[in-house]
């Protein structure tokens, strides 16, 4: 089947063969993430390094951050969970192993899962996310199971900076600390990245933006990984809350602001593909990137569920895939609007300013979520040239303690802060009280585009605003 037409500008530049490999991977393709689901199998508990942003002790079901899981799975349970998830979520396209430790510090468990899935669910893409320390020795084994998507976390290429991020590593039967640890780890990461690229694998590099530690260094990391041949750079904000018990949390290391994140992404984005739709999901996340349905698939559910026919669920997945691809390529669905209303001369870029729009969606690329139910908002930037996803604002990103979990006030405050700069909020429905609050904060709510494709709605609004003269820059602004 030919790959779907490209969506974002960066995907436009990809060759057909690469399109084929990313078109249904929600992390590698922004378009795919509206439609295809992923499953993280929490089969890898052990870790071979310590990161200052990670604490393995704290495991709260309400908390969403990498390295956290509710239940650890055996390889047999992992297979059953994959089949059960497929039955309920046939749009499942990717099975990844991301922890809660490091997959390659648990090679036996991880490759036992891959071996079974390669025969019982050959249509599913297998994927791992690793710190890279053990990567060089397992690259060929990954290739054996046709793992084509590997994420390596590379926070720095300078050991001096590494020593401030990684207090120790376990390497060749010894624990190393300080600069020596960082030197070994960084060398292994770089070697592993090179080996993956040589074997034609698509590598996503994750970098955690840590203000004051690696913020000014990340463009250098970006140049290095681009030069080495990484496919995608995912720069994510540090999560450091004292209640998580991490070194950075307890030592009050500051998290980056949304603006700082955007700035670094923008600098790096000029050089290579940068990811804007990452949700920093848990090592046991299930569903579309914006949702986590893991609570529907507990160990108790697995035990109580009768055995599932792997052939039958594979048929279901194949059917779902055909349907999604048909919907995406159907011209009458108008999902990929030509943006003809936006495609204008370079001169227009100078004449008209851009517009930030927040969107409530629960998938399929549509404006289909009620404001009050939204767990996150996608923030798009519309300009005279293109419509692009800038970032995602989560409304319940971290557990802030039970007493605050359902407080509407706190939630609204968090949303208003997170959507700062947006002029509009598009959702399927919204109540009177939040409408008023948003309006008072200068964000115009709009539910007229319920069930309309996101990009189409934003294109219409941009055209309307432009026509009404709301986006015209003054001659002074144009000159600057």
């Amino acid at each position: 089947m030919p790959p779907a037409p490209p969506h974002s500008t960066c995907e436009n530049q990809e060759s057909t063969s690469i399109q084929d490999r990313i078109h249904n991977h929600p992390c590698y393709s922004e378009k795919a993430h509206h439609h295809y689901a992923r499953l993280h199998l929490a089969v890898a508990p052990a870790c071979n390094i310590q990161c200052n942003y990670c604490n393995r002790k704290y495991q709260c079901a309400n908390e969403s951050r990498p390295g956290v899981v509710s239940e650890l799975l055996t390889p047999a349970q992992a297979l059953k969970k994959t089949l059960l998830v497929s039955e309920k979520l046939p749009q499942l396209s990717v099975v990844g192993i991301a922890g809660p430790g490091d997959p390659l510090a648990n090679p036996q468990r991880v490759f036992s899962v891959f071996k079974t899935l390669a025969t019982q669910a050959p249509d599913l893409r297998l994927c791992i996310s690793t710190n890279g320390l053990a990567l060089p020795e397992w690259v060929d084994e990954l290739a054996r199971y046709s793992v084509e998507h590997v994420t390596v976390t590379i926070n720095c290429i300078d050991p001096e900076i590494g020593a401030q991020i990684y207090p120790w590593i376990f390497w060749k039967n010894r624990r190393y600390k300080g600069i020596k640890a960082a030197e070994i780890l960084l060398a292994q990461q770089q070697k592993g990245l090179k080996m993956l690229v040589e074997r034609g694998m698509l590598v996503k590099v994750n970098s955690i933006l840590i203000p004051g530690i690696n913020d000014h260094h990340l463009p250098e990391v970006n140049r290095f990984i681009k030069q080495t041949g990484a496919f995608l750079h995912n720069i994510t904000p540090l999560i450091a809350k004292a209640e998580h018990g991490t070194y950075y949390g307890l030592t009050r290391q500051r998290e980056p602001s949304p603006e700082e994140l955007l700035t670094v992404r923008q600098i790096c984005g000029e050089n290579m593909n940068v990811m804007h739709h990452c949700r920093q999901c848990r090592a046991d996340a299930v569903g579309l990137l914006g949702e986590d349905r893991n609570a529907e698939f507990t160990l108790a559910d697995l035990d109580n569920h009768p055995d599932i026919d792997h052939q039958a669920v594979m048929q279901k997945r194949m059917l779902a895939k055909t349907q999604i691809q048909a919907a995406l390529t159907n011209p009458t669905a108008n999902y990929h609007i030509p943006l003809s209303s936006l495609k204008t001369s370079k001169n227009s870029l100078k004449k008209y300013r851009s517009l930030l729009v927040a969107v409530a969606t629960r998938g399929q690329g549509l404006i289909n979520e009620h404001f009050g139910h939204a767990k996150e908002f996608l923030i798009y930037e519309a300009s005279a040239q293109e419509i692009k996803l800038l970032r995602v604002h989560k409304t319940q990103l971290y557990c802030t303690g039970q007493q605050e979990c359902d407080e509407a006030e706190t939630r609204m405050h968090n949303i208003l802060q997170g959507l700062a700069g947006c002029e509009l909020l598009l959702c399927a429905k919204i109540g009177y009280a939040p409408w008023k609050q948003l309006e008072a904060a200068g964000i115009q709510p709009n539910s007229e585009y319920a069930m309309v494709p996101i990009t189409q709605a934003i294109a219409n609004i941009y055209a309307e605003f432009k026509q009404a003269g709301k986006l015209t820059l003054s001659s002074q602004q144009q000159a600057s």
């Binding site: 870790c47 002790k57 039967n173 070194y247």
Partner: protein
């Protein structure tokens, strides 16, 4: 001469496959060491393997009851 794992163990499995004498086993509420099998890695490795990968300070004790990774030794956080 044997090490022991105490209740601050987080059951991360990191130590279990490294033990050269297979003295470490999964148990509830946390992993344990069969004292009669533990050699403290003497003759196998320069450093005891379980204590070299354990991410939790104070979770593994030596035969005299002292933590092999004392508070502050891994995280750099004040004890």
């Amino acid at each position: 001469m044997a090490f022991s794992i105490i209740d601050s163990c987080i059951n991360c499995w990191a130590c279990q496959p490294l033990c050269p004498t297979h003295a470490i086993y999964e148990a509830q509420p946390h992993f344990l060491i069969t004292a009669s099998q533990c050699t403290e890695c003497a003759g196998h490795y320069a450093d005891p393997q379980c204590a070299s990968i354990c991410p939790v300070e104070g979770a593994i004790l030596d035969s005299t009851g002292h933590a092999l990774n004392p508070l502050g030794s891994l995280t750099g956080l004040p004890a």
